[in-house]
Amino acid sequence: MENDDAAAAWQAQSGSGFRMSSEEIRNRLETMNRKMRRRTFDGYLVCAFLIVGFIGWMFVGMNTPQTIGAVFMIIATSYMAWQIRANRFRTPSIDVVDTLEHLRRELARQRDFHRGTRFWSRMLLLVPGGLIFFVGFAQAHPEVIRIIRFEIISFVIFAISAIPLNAWMARRYQKQIDALSRLEEES
């Protein structure tokens, strides 16, 4: 096969004639946007549920540690909601030359959500807040101390397991960033 033959053979490959109608494109984009919005909305929903729960709890009469813990948790959850908003997916730039750079920035932002200051600031607000709340809860209701102990242990296990889980997520994004860098170096 000569060079021209190679090009001719290459171009002669029969395609499926794939193309998308404008309706299909809009539907697909809408589905993608809906999925993104849904994921963000689910995050907000969890935060809202926790905030409303702790505010409600404050009205049913709590001791001081419970109140301090609840305030901490409300602040922590609001902060988490703000982080989710800041971390939401951004539509790629229409500047085509920057598509890969956009991908790199997106990946870096996702990675940073799971590590460093953003992760630890979240943990530093959530964990002490939760523990103080449970201590106050135990003081107020010594009759259910066994249940509260179980809740505290579960909470601590949940908090501890969040560390390797987030580190794993951050590593996954880092791997993609490294692959992107390799790709650019190879180019």
Partner: protein, 173 residues
Amino acid sequence: MASQDALYEEAAGEYGAALERLAGSYEFDRDKCRDLLQDIHLAIWRSFEGFAGNCSLRTWVYRVAHNVAASHVVRHQRAGKRPLVSLDEIDDLSMAGDSGDSFDRQQSVEQLREFIRQLKPMERQVILLYLEGTDAAGIAEITGISAGNVATKIHRIKKILAGRFGRGARHGK
């Protein structure tokens, strides 16, 4: 939006087949290839929102398509995958089915596709554009590399194609 749709229609009509070949060169898996092709089409449609006509439609379409394909490679990196090579290194590699027996056009295209998948992204882009009949100036504009560099790469590509695929084709004739 009408012009966005019209531009997409024009691009899909003109370069649809080339985009399918491009997707096939970046992704071996049939389903993932289909997904990649859809992503490319979506990205092209979307990109026309910012198309000011400062470059040709062809340049714009290929740039978007190659960027999406490169992003796809990053997202679907497979563990244990053999490293990508340059055109200078490719000669040292053995190619599956490069025996020259029972050689036909379909087989040669398959080999060509396999050969392209081993290449580093920029060189993959150059060879794909070359095979699509884009001239050196066009390739330089799309890839952003110098015309001199493109000419060197094309020279190398021609040599490889003649040496590697020419042999197989002659066996088959």
